[in-house]
């Protein structure tokens, strides 16, 4: 038991992060607005919230539009239910920006915002409005939420799929760790010519490929939801697929040579090449070009913009947990391979 503490810890971390990661609610947000364009004059809009409590917080509810330095408040506001409200705005002829951001505030939800919620229609967009048309005083001091509960950020494109972060990224991190083990075992084989190291390198790469498949599958589903396609021609995505193919070639190469000593030596040399190529394809090349994927091409990844403290509390333990599970599976395969080798040796002795 004392030797296996890390296995127990990994299992507990994976289960805990799975339960909290899937069950914790999303923060209140604005799901959609209708219509999506605002024209000069009177405009009635319907705002649909997500996990919101518009009716409960109706007393101090306020809604406003922000356009550049200008604020626009509705002259009529009615709450349909907790998730729907209707507001009527009088839109001026001149604006500073082509898009209007929508804000809804009450004491139950705090301030929820939808960036570029509405687009202007036939309005005159000017560089700057005079002071008296900016109307900053139409918004009262925004109410603060009564009790902040544990939730995940409600981002307009990601929505509920934001939870996939706890599975998609740890799968890739675990894959990289296991491929790192595989590389280390291959180097050890080249130094000592011990077949046990070759078997360990091969086992680590096999488990790494399983996690890579999990990373590709979870990423593909995420891409379908956020970008609208199962696969887009993006340097990060293509790089990940190439990295996996490079490692598949490692197994093809090893199985194509009949002499096990030769296969092990060839495989070990190729493994070093495969690891370097995978790192180039996944970590280096995508950072040198524009990319849709977070963390490359100037997109933020683990920054304050898209990973808040609540998410970090689940994300880092999930990474440690899945890495532990990956190493556990690899260790089991290593031990099984060692037993098989011992049995073969005994039979030949």
């Amino acid at each position: 038991m004392a030797r296996n503490w890390w296995k127990v810890l990994s299992a507990l971390l994976v289960l805990t992060t799975l339960v909290i990661g899937l069950k914790a609610p999303l923060a209140p947000g604005i799901a959609e607005v209708s219509p999506e364009r605002l024209a000069y004059g009177v405009n009635s809009v319907t705002v649909t919230g997500y996990n919101t409590r518009f009716a409960e917080g109706e007393e101090d509810l306020q809604v406003w539009l922000s356009n550049g330095t200008q604020l626009i408040c509705p002259y009529e506001l009615s709450v349909v239910n907790d998730r729907e409200l209707r507001a009527t705005f009088s839109i001026p002829e001149k604006t500073e920006d082509a898009f209007f951001d929508l804000y809804v505030n009450n004491s139950k939800d705090g301030t929820v915002m939808l960036e570029s919620a509405f687009m202007q229609k036939d309005l005159t967009v000017v560089a700057s409005l005079p002071e008296n048309e900016r109307n900053p005083s139409c918004v009262r001091k925004p109410a603060v939420t009564e009790a902040a509960e544990f939730n995940f950020p409600n981002q307009s494109i990601l929505n509920e799929t934001i939870r996939n972060l706890f599975f998609h990224v740890p799968a890739w991190f675990t894959m990289m760790l296991l491929m790192g083990f595989s590389l280390a075992y291959s180097i050890l084989y080249l130094r000592r010519s011990d077949m046990a190291y070759d078997a360990k390198a091969s086992d680590a790469a096999t488990v790494g490929l399983v996690f890579a498949a999990a990373g590709l599958a979870t990423g593909s589903v995420w891409a379908r939801f956020t970008w609208g396609a199962w696969w887009v021609s993006d340097p990060r995505l293509n790089g990940a697929a190439l990295g996996v193919l490079v490692y598949l070639a490692y197994f093809v190469l090893k199985s194509s040579v009949n002499d096990s000593e030769k296969a092990a030596a060839l495989g070990a040399v190729y493994n070093i090449f495969a690891f370097v190529m995978m790192m180039l394809f996944i970590m280096v090349l995508p950072r040198m070009t524009d990319s849709l994927h977070p963390g490359v091409g100037g997109n933020p990844a683990f920054s304050q913009y898209d990973l808040d403290d609540n998410m970090r509390m689940i994300f880092y333990p999930a990474v440690i947990g899945w890495m532990g599970i990956g190493v556990w599976i690899m260790q089991l395969m290593n031990r099984t391979s060692a037993l098989k080798r011992a049995k073969i040796l005994r039979e030949y002795a």
Binding site: K7, L18, L22, A31, V221, F225, T336, A342
Partner: protein, 75 residues
């Protein structure tokens, strides 16, 4: 190896079919799943799968340990 590949392929196709049918729904899909409580069933199945996976790992770990002990005795 081929047997494992076939199993993996069948599981992968089943996974793709399930996910694509879920994503083919309109925006209210998650609301329907949440409001009717069906999401809890999905959640329970996912947790159960992970629990079974960990249970299987524990079983394998114990079995391999036992075989290692037997191997030591034989030596």
């Amino acid at each position: 190896m081929l047997k494992h590949l076939r199993q993996f392929f069948v599981l992968f196709i089943a996974y793709l079919m399930t996910v694509s049918s879920a994503l083919g729904q309109d925006r209210g899909f998650e609301d329907v799943m949440m409001d009717s409580g069906k999401l809890n069933v999905v959640f329970a199945v996912v947790v159960m799968l992970i629990v079974v996976m960990i249970g299987f790992l524990v079983y394998l770990d114990r079995r391999v340990s036992r075989m290692e002990r037997q191997e030591k005795i034989k030596k």
